[in-house]
Structure formats: C-alpha cells, structure tokens
Amino acid sequence: MIEFQQVARAFGSAKAIDGIDLKIEAGEFVVLIGASGSGKSTLLKMINRMESHDSGRILFDGQEITRFDPRALRLRLGYAIQSVGLFPHWNVARNIGIVPQMLGWARPRIEARVQALLELFGLDPAIYRERFPHQLSGGQQQRVGVARALAGDPDVLLMDEPFGALDPVIRASLQQEIARVHRSSGKTIVMVTHDIDEALRLATRIVLLDHGRIVQVATPLQLLAEPADARVEDFVGRSEVGIRLLSLKPAASLARQEPPQSGAGPGLPASASLRDAVSHLAARQRASVNLTDASGGHAGVLHAADIFSPGAAAVADPAAAAASATWGAGG
C-alpha cells in the first residue's frame, strides 16, 4: 500500500530522515514511535506530501507519490492530528462532510456518511450533528476529527499523535474505538505516537525511529521479546518489559474453566488484559479472581499462580512468547 525506498531528507547538514526503507501492507496498523526529533512525524507527513523528501522514492498504491497531485493524494489519505483542527465556524456535520464535499459526493450520500460516522464513534447524530466544535469536549472533538479523516472513505488513515492531548480515560476509550474501526473496516492505518503503551496496544507492527533512522520494525510482542538493541530496551522501559508483555494478552487466555469462587469479591471482565488482572489481584491481596464475559456471565477463574508459574511459560519466557502466533494478531 505504502512503500518507502531509501527515503531521506536533510535540513542543512542535519539529516531529519536518513535512508528509510519500509513497506506497509494494506490492512496493517503501523505505529511510528520514537523520541521527539526522531523524525516520526516528518515521515508520516511525507506520505501525504505535507513534507517533501530529498531523495529516495515513496510509493502509494504502486505509484510514486510525486506523480500524484498533492490534493488528489490527500483526498485518498485520511488525516487526523493531535490538535484536531476542527473548523470552528462549521458545525459537526459540515466538518465531517468536507472531504466528501470536495470529492463531489451527492448531498444525501454525504448526509448518510456523516450519520454513519457519528454513530460509529458513539455520538448521537440527533444531538451532535448541529453542534459546533466549541460545544464539544476534548474527547468528542477528537472523535469528530477522526470521523472527518475517515469521511471520504480513504484507503489509508494517517494519524499524528491523535490522542496525545487527551486525559488517560478518554484516551483509552478512543484507542478502543480506533482499534474497533481498524478491525471492522480493514483500513490501513499509520499512526505516530510517543506513547509505547499506545503503540503496543494498537499496532500490528511498530516502527521505532531514532535520529531519522529505523531502529527496529517488529510486532509488539517481538519488540518486547527481542529488542534489537539497547535503544529499544530503553524505549520500552527495561524494568517494565514483563508488565508490558502481560498487557498484550487477555485475562481469559489463562483462565481455568472452574465454577465461580464464592467470596472472591468483584469480578474482572474476561477481555481485560493480564496486566489489569495482576493489578486487580495485587490491589485486593488475592490469589484468584472470577472473570465475567460481556453479558455478565461467568467466564472462568484466573489464578495468580498461572500468571507467574511455569504453566504460564508463554509470559515468563520471551522466546516461547515470540513463537506464540496468537499474540501478534491480538493487537
């Protein structure tokens, strides 16, 4: 879908982007991550020609992007940014409808698209269609921002730290929503972040950048289990690798199919991560917890022993974990 071939960009003598080779397949959720100045944002903006490249080639859909008209290219690439940038003088419906309008869609089709996107992001169209950006909370603004980016049904969605300015609770719920959108739409998503947990949670592949070069391209699991070098280890946090590995796997995966334990206190959703489960157990000083499924029914019992004992080897032994096929796809 998108391919970088020896792409470079220099500001004076400093190389902002230095020989990037990267191939992004259709349907992937690629997260570009790195410290400030690593070139992750520049690399993202090169895709829709908001930034230019000095040398190398960038291919979109098999064609070099310099052969596209920049505006035509951008209409096929959804774009969402941290500061959202909603048009303050337009209501939500017009904000979302701008790309379809530029694409020349008929009015009823635009209306239907706006309706569908608002519903997709859990915003009641009856209430929010006519609202203006200043009447929305930060989280709602970003939902509209992402909806706007998706409105023209783009092949690729580019997101530049879209959730960076949101508080942790709102951010987590938006991360869930974008993961859901990715699963249901199958769109290619390229996202920039500096939050390793966000990257581990969402990405099918993570691209770690440092000083304009790629340090490692890996699935979340590989990144934790087989860091390419000390820079990667630093970035993922040496002391927290274990905890982050736990966050990649749902609690249900280690549950024993047992009847619910009485007096076990409040249960935990089966979809929660093992990391949440460990936190839950530690906070309550317990060795096990009942899991509940989406409808509130019993979904087995998770024992602390299974997380830390050889029975849970997949977590304790990184090499074995890497071999487990289910993890990488879990995202």
Binding site: K45, N48, M50, P70, R71, A72, L73, R74, L75, Y79, I81, S83, V84, G85, L86, F87, P88, H89, W90, N91, I98, V99, M102, F132, P133, H134, Q135, G145, R148, A149, L158
Partner: protein, 396 residues
Amino acid sequence: MQLTLSALALLALAGLPFVNVAPNRLLSGEPLFFLALIPGSLAAPAVLLLGLLLVNALAALGRGASRALAASVAAASLLAMAGLLWLAGEQARLLAQTASPLARTALGGGFWLALLLLGLLVADALQRLRLAPGWRSAVLLAALLGLGGLVAAGYGNDLSIMKEYANRADIFAGALARHLQIVLLALLPTLLIGLPLGWAARRRVQLGAALFPALNVIQTIPSIALFGLLMAPLALLAAAWPALGRAGFSGVGLAPAVIALVLYSLLPVVRGTLTGLEQVSASVRDAACGLGMGRWPMFWQVELPLAAPVVLAGVRTAAVQSVGLAAVTALIGAGGLGAILFEGLFSSAEDLVVLAVLPIVLLGVAVDAFFAGLIGLASRRAAGTGAATAESGAPA
C-alpha cells in the same frame, strides 16, 4: 457609572448655559440657564425633564443590574434627549415671537454636555442589555432617526443652528452627499489594495517588513501636508495626459482627496487583514491542508471567515477615520461638509461650524455602529453560532 452620568447631566444643566441669546448671528449672546426656564411658560416640561433625570439617577441606587432596569434607563435617557431638543426648540420659538428677526438662540454648553452624557447613558445601558450586536446597532440607528425626525419635523427651526441650516439648505444635502462620496470612493480602492496586500504580507514576511514602515510614515504625515505633497505630481500627471484631466483628475479636488484617504486607510486595513489571517490557528490550517483543501477554497471557506472579525475591525478604523479626514479635504477643493465647516471657521460663525461638525460626528458614529454590528455577526460566525465568546471577540 449610571449615577455619575445622570448626576453630571443634572449639574451640566444647572451650571452651564442651556442656550445663548444674541441680538444677531455674529455677536456672542447672553447665557440663559436651564433653571431660568422654570418660572416661564415652559416650566412644566422643564420640571418634568428634571424629574426624569432625577429618577434616572436614583434608579442606579436600586437593587441589581437587571435587564428591565437597563432597558428603562435607556428609554428614559432617549426620552430626555428628545425632551432637551424639544425644550431648546420651544425656547427659541418663544423668543422669536417677541425679539427682532435677527436675534439668535444658540445651543449652549449645558445643552450639548447634557445631550452627550445622556448619549453615554444610553450606550452604557445598551451594553448592559447584552443585545445581539446587530440589535444594538439597530437601536442606535433608530434613536438617531428619532432625534433626526424631531429636527426634521421643525421643532428646532428657530434655533440659530437651524437658521444657519435654512440659509445653507441648498448646499447642505449636496455637501453631505459629497462627503459620503469621498469616503466611499476612498474605501473601495482601500479594500481592493489593502486586503490583497495583507494577504500577501502574511505569505511573505519580507513584504510586511518593507510595507509597514512605509504605511506608518504615511500615517505620521499631517493630512494638509499630504494634500500638498499630492498636488504637484497629480497636476503634472493631468498636464501630461490631458485625458486624465478631462476625466476630472487634477491636483485639486476629488482625486488628491481620495488618494490621500486611501493612503491613510491602508495601514489599518492591511494590518487588520494580516493580524486576522495570522490568528487563524495553525492546527486548522494544517488539518485543512492535510485533508486536501486547495489554497483558494482554504482562503475563502476557512481563513477569511475566521479572520473576518479582525479584518473588519481594521476596515472600521479606516472608515471612521476617513469620515473625519474627509472634512479636511475641503481645503483642496474636494467639497463635502468640510466646506461648510471652514466657511463657518473663517467667518467666526460658531453655529455654522456646529452645523458641519454635527453631521460629521453622527456619520462617524453611524459608520462605527454599522461596523460594530457587522463585526459582531462575523465573530459569532467565526466562533460557531450562539457562541458565548462571540461578545468578547468584538471590540466594544
């Protein structure tokens, strides 16, 4: 605020001459104080007016700042303004019945000051009413028309200023029209040049760096000097191309007047356009560009609507300034209300000066109110309709 203004209005009426009565137009007259009206045949309305002012002042001591209170203060003050006008007119009429036909009743300091203070009271009350900007302008316009109607109906016909008007009625309308013509003729090229210049200055920093010092220097040149500077080159141009001269283009008259006003107006308009465009947030631009919006759609649909309040604030400054400066252009033969003003100045006829200054001031106020309304609407649009922040966006 309300108490102070009302009290000052009462003091002005008590301490300054309400009208001056002179045997003819050139002699300065004897002052007649407002309180001196009380024993006469105008006693009842005069007492009524004083009562109205007193109640207005005392209303400020009442509780809170309710909208009803503000509305009644505005209404009472407008009524008092009309009352002042009517009383002065009646006083002049009574005098005209007894005195010689040459005798003049000129409006005194007490009248003008009280009228001004009442006007401020109205403006203050309207501010507190928090009317939508369009409505505030509409109310002001209606008030001006109401007072104008009183004058048009002949209630002030025996006042000295109206006698001056009667003497000049044939040229007054023409002068007013000419004044408006000069202002509008200057405004059009100002917008045609200033808006693109402001837009270009935003794209090229060097342009602004060269442009603004030049425009600033122009602002510092006194208007009369600027007319003088323009006279010679324009006269030469007209001489070199007779076609220009036949089209009415010469060193004196309309051409240098309009050119000078354009030069003065450019600074606020260019500055306003630049500032307005600059304050459109970078994230909105970034998003618009990233979504695939072209340069022109972005300008027309996004940048201009968002910059409009500040751009219009610049145009407002330019327009109000032009209304005043257009008076001075009479000195180079451009005509307008300035012609009457200078005639009054040179013949020491105070009322003739007032006759010219008054419409200039009213015109300035009307232009200002018009743009205030426009800016209010534009800021509401820029912020999304019904925005609570729209009010603060418009300079009051």
